[in-house]
């Protein structure tokens, strides 16, 4: 059986008195794309740097491709760490940059040339091989950095916010380049991002890192539909929160109606959390609603709806004919509803 690309067992990191990562246990399979999301300062970059070997853990064990890496220096780990902004060696051409990992591994000239050519072609950068990094655009630099990261075929790619500094068009371009790079030989990928769209578009699984702890690991669909806690739901910026009561038997009662929920929580005040996509509009819904505002985006339209005692955000396909002031009805897709007990100290609205 092939060992996973990454195994972390109870890894903790402290900087002085501050705990940055706490008992982190994680497994990333070969070929798996694992994305970590978390608020600023939650330890995302530290996590990547500890896997890469630039930060020494206080405790725990790290295995990369089945080999213990805990006390191994970065250059001897079977992992490549790519920084947020691509760092190309400014004194080397594109070709020399991509050949760098092979030259330090003392590969023969012929094999180096062959693998560099393949990596550059995969990134559509073959015709730039004699250019110096300073003459490349931001997207081209990202492509070269990706080609250089995959050319030595590490078992694990560690990518720190690879799209954060890019405009939307370039972001899509680099995302596709990353997927192309991944398809070359399918390494395990651990990618850190702030952007849930990037996370959903790339990840096989997403891990939510909050205050140094992995609070939930799930597929994108499961995470966004069924966040494990109210804190995670709020971090994921799931737009709708409706207050109500749980009857303790699996029913959530609110101004939107009574809904059978998948999870049963104790009787008492509760909050239902759901995304705009969970709101169905105009199909003989249970609750009357009025369109307050229509926001049109390239791929969808968002409606801000007024209901008795509150507001809802609903998503509908682009080109929707709704206009502000329209009357309609709404209902909820209960499969996309997550219900949590009301946090202590918070009153039912």
């Amino acid at each position: 059986m092939t060992s996973p690309a990454l195994e972390m067992d109870s890894v903790s990191v402290r900087f002085g008195a501050e705990t940055i990562l706490q008992n982190m246990t994680l497994q990333v399979g070969r070929g798996e794309r694992f994305v970590i999301v978390g608020p600023s300062g939650s330890g995302k970059t530290t996590l990547l740097r500890v896997i890469a070997g630039f930060v020494t853990p206080e405790g725990g064990e790290i295995m990369i491709a089945g080999l213990s890496a805990t006390a191994v220096p970065p250059e001897k780990r079977d992992a490549v760490y790519m920084h947020q902004t691509p760092i190309l060696f400014p004194h080397l051409t594109v070709l020399e940059n991509v050949a760098f990992p092979l030259r330090v591994r003392r590969l023969s000239g012929g094999e180096t040339r062959e693998r560099v050519g393949a990596a550059l072609d995969a990134m559509q950068m073959g015709r730039f091989e004699n250019r110096m990094p300073r003459t490349l655009s931001g997207g081209q630099k990202h492509r070269v950095a990706l080609a250089r990261a995959i050319v030595a075929r590490p078992s694990l790619l560690l990518l720190d916010e690879p799209f954060s500094a890019l405009d939307p068009a370039l972001r899509r371009d680099v995302r596709l380049a990353l997927l192309a790079a991944h398809s070359q030989y399918e390494p395990g990928v651990v990618l850190v991002t702030h952007d849930f769209g990037d996370a959903a578009g790339i990840a096989d699984r997403i891990g939510v890192l909050i205050e140094g702890e992995l609070t939930q690991v799930a597929s994108p669909a499961e995470l966004f539909m069924r966040p494990a806690s109210l804190a995670i739901a709020r971090f994921l910026n799931i737009a709708n929160e409706v207050h109500g009561h749980s009857d303790g038997g699996g029913t959530f009662c609110s101004t939107l109606g009574n809904f059978r929920t998948r999870d049963t929580i104790a009787a008492g005040p509760a909050i239902a959390v759901f995304s705009p996509a969970a709101v169905t509009i105009g199909l003989k819904g249970r609750t009357a609603a009025r369109v307050i505002e229509v926001r049109t985006y390239p791929e969808h339209t968002t409606l801000m709806l007024g209901i008795t005692g509150g507001r809802l955000e609903a998503a509908c396909p682009a080109g929707s004919s709704f206009a502000a002031g329209d009357e309609t009805t709404v209902d909820l897709d209960v499969d996309r509803l997550a219900v949590f007990p009301l946090p202590a100290g918070q009153r039912v609205e």
Binding site: A52, G53, F54, P73, P74, E75, A79, V80, Y81, M82, H83, I87, F89, P90, H91, F100, P101, R103, V104, R105, R148, A149, A152
Partner: protein
């Protein structure tokens, strides 16, 4: 208003002329004249005799020039490379360790050369290096290393360390990181540090005199002997010879720096 604005510029130009060009002009004039006494504004007689005399003592001048060049080149090489590694190490130290290390690097620069010479003389003579080329070289490297270390502390303060991390993550050993990334990136400051070390050694008198014990004869020492013997015209002529190598070095350095460009990460 414009005149007011150009005053500082004029002042700086005058300072430049008085500080550098005028002394050089005097040197040239002294080297090609024989009688020039106060209060005459110009020499009474122009002659090539001083250059003839210098040419006739060519063996001594050539030998001292060779020793000076060897010392300065070696000092430049040793101090620039050592300064790079020392500066790199110091720049990576945090807190009080970093401050203490910078203070240590300042010491050979801050201590007056004569005091430094006396201190070094004692230790180098004990080591049996008095009167030897290697002893004088060691003595020259001490202040030069102070300058180059401080120079590189400044360079590494703006160096992007992530570039070294990136290289290591791509599989480069610490040696590969230095040889394939750090040194090539710092080619330009290395050339500048070499020039700095060369110049510190080239003009060195007290250290050469005390450690070399008169057995290691450099061009500045020959020049000093002309000055102390009252041979002003000959001293000026030798002074001009002394001026040529560093000026040539500066030109070469400027050209090299322009060619290498700014490739600090």
């Amino acid at each position: 208003m414009n005149a007011m604005r150009s005053l500082p510029r004029l002042g700086l130009a005058a300072l430049l002329v008085f500080a550098t060009l005028l002394p050089l002009a005097f040197l040239v004039a002294l080297s090609v004249s024989s009688d020039w006494f106060y209060p005459n504004l110009a020499p009474r007689r122009w002659t090539g005799a001083n250059w003839d005399l210098l040419r006739r003592s060519g063996a001594v001048i050539f030998s001292s020039l060779r020793v000076s060049a060897a010392l300065a080149l070696a000092t430049g090489a040793v101090s620039s490379i050592s300064g790079l590694f020392a500066g790199r190490k110091i720049a990576r130290l945090d807190g009080w360790r970093g401050r203490v290390a910078v203070a240590c690097a300042f010491l050979p620069v801050a201590v007056p050369p004569l005091a430094l010479s006396i201190g070094l003389q004692y230790s180098l003579l004990k080591m049996g290096l008095g009167g030897r080329f290697s002893g004088v070289l060691f003595a020259h490297v001490v202040p030069a290393l102070g300058y180059t270390t401080l120079f590189f502390v400044g360079i590494f303060a703006v160096f992007d360390w992530l570039v070294e991390d990136e290289a290591r993550s791509l599989g480069a050993s610490p040696r590969d990181v230095i040889m394939r990334v750090t040194l090539p990136l710092l080619r330009r400051p290395l050339v500048e540090a070499f020039a700095l070390g060369f110049l510190v050694s080239w003009a060195q008198v007290p250290l050469t005199l005390l450690i070399g014990q008169g057995l290691v004869r450099t061009l500045p020492l020959e020049l000093m002997s002309y000055v102390s013997a009252g041979q002003d015209h000959l001293a000026a002529t030798a002074g001009l010879v002394l001026t040529i190598p560093p000026l040539a070095l500066l030109v070469v350095t400027a050209l090299a720096v322009r060619r290498l460009g700014a490739v600090i990460a």
